[in-house]
Symmetry: C2
Subunit: 334 residues, 2 copies
Amino acid sequence: MSKRLGLQTIVFQQAPRIASCSTIAGPKEGEGNFGSYIDKLVDDPMMGQLTPEKAERMMLYLACQDALAKAALTEDDVHFFVGGDLLNQIISSSYCARDLGIPFLGIYGACSSIVEGLGLGSLIVDGDYADSVLVATSSHYQASERQFRYPVELNIQHRKSNQWTVTGAAAAVLSKSGTGPKITAATFGRVLDYGIKSPNDMGAAMAPAAADTLCRHFADTGKTPGDYDLILTGDLAAVGQKLFVQLVKEAGYTLGSKHMDVGASMYKPTQQVGAGGSGCACSAIGILGYVVKEMLQGNLRRVLAMATGALFSPVSTQQGDSIAGIAHAVVIEA
Amino acid sequence: MSKRLGLQTIVFQQAPRIASCSTIAGPKEGEGNFGSYIDKLVDDPMMGQLTPEKAERMMLYLACQDALAKAALTEDDVHFFVGGDLLNQIISSSYCARDLGIPFLGIYGACSSIVEGLGLGSLIVDGDYADSVLVATSSHYQASERQFRYPVELNIQHRKSNQWTVTGAAAAVLSKSGTGPKITAATFGRVLDYGIKSPNDMGAAMAPAAADTLCRHFADTGKTPGDYDLILTGDLAAVGQKLFVQLVKEAGYTLGSKHMDVGASMYKPTQQVGAGGSGCACSAIGILGYVVKEMLQGNLRRVLAMATGALFSPVSTQQGDSIAGIAHAVVIEA
């Protein structure tokens, strides 16, 4: 019997629980709007390491260990580690998988990775292929800047449309049983490309995919914005979220105060981050930090959590390719 | 009811069919030992494109289109595209997903990607989450050389332990119904690291993971080498396969003539490729070209197909990290 609804949505009949989650981030994120929702704030974004790549990896591993501990599980109890990150060859996740020793499914969806992972992990648990799955992702401002744009030391002037990669990591254990919030559905997205070519304007590149996935979700399920307490997008930030809201409106849905973009909300205006936050950890902290904690406190009941990814590399940009976008969504219910 | 067997193996109760597959490769692969098993051989590895990255992407798209056509399906009939490749941010797969318009699950397992994809795609079909899933991967000698090692134009001398990245792509449609070979089980691997640091010796870095996954598969299922007509590894090549066979022997299993490594067998000795072939397309052509065609001709009945990936990046190498390895396995039955 198919578990599909409409063109792109999957309904989980044995909806997996978010048994535990853990978030970690640096001082800039601590000073931002979600500081109180982050489990562990570190003073040193370099984590005492020589390179930002190694610092990112350490944050990811710590978040994974903390999520396991909170779920009272060891690595041997978890059947899959589903992880991905922004760094070339997803080295943060790969080396973390080595240190964890859990069978590894490496994924890449750029900043959409957390929801690709939560959706895939839910499918694996819902389908009885695992009792528990660990899902995690990470990003680091310095590691991302020097990989995608310029080394931080060059002190390049940011544009208003630039986004600031969140330094942090987040992990969740999905399980068959428990009392945490449930993941009840997933809408996996298509890749859309509206021809945006500037790596300094990723929000605009991702907005069409976010609008597409949201409209597909509504069409598949018959739901409307009124069915959700919150419709979260990951890191469209100030420029991208305006386009997103406009595209969704043109498709016949008014989101109003139901919508929040984590990237646009991550930092305070005084923090000078251009259009807002981005990176795998941005949406991951929004979902596994803010949404889950607000649910556990009874302030949110039903959330559509989307994360968006900009699919490109410095090589593709240099070769004249435009930046494609993707967005995945999961429904989280208290 | 759990569909797990032992620690790492999943048994597919509604074993998905390989409804169709397609392989494409360049002239060097055409002159090699698997030339007659490759569906489309092209004279120009650059595919008339200005860059090898764009050539790789075109090969991947052509393989996907051909697999869909052979299965008599359009993009709208396929519920997921599961794809990954070696290039930073898996741009070959991402842009191919854009051109296909099928909901996309991006994966990264380096050269193990085809089996990560076949295993994951089988799980999705077996679990009734999709009627059909398209799985594909690609690699390109020039694109890989200049990303991981040196631009081809530098004319760097290869060592004997170096491997030659296969230029090509392969795609398969997995479906609930049909008459093609079935994927009956999958063993997803852990990441192992024996401390190998040379990016010129990836076979040695991947061999421990291959041995680990094979031994786990045997332990989980109670099977032995005698239960299979062929035990295939992806791209350990000459150096890595010796270590693999030795490690497996130390664990109590003698493979003998049951074992074939695609990388070691891809090219002829006269082709001067160091230790042999590698790249995502190497194992993919071995599995979706050689194995599937031999099964359809009645020459193979039961194959354990493994693909191995070396998890590292030039950045991790420069920062002193060793190269971790992963291996995934699927059981394919006629």
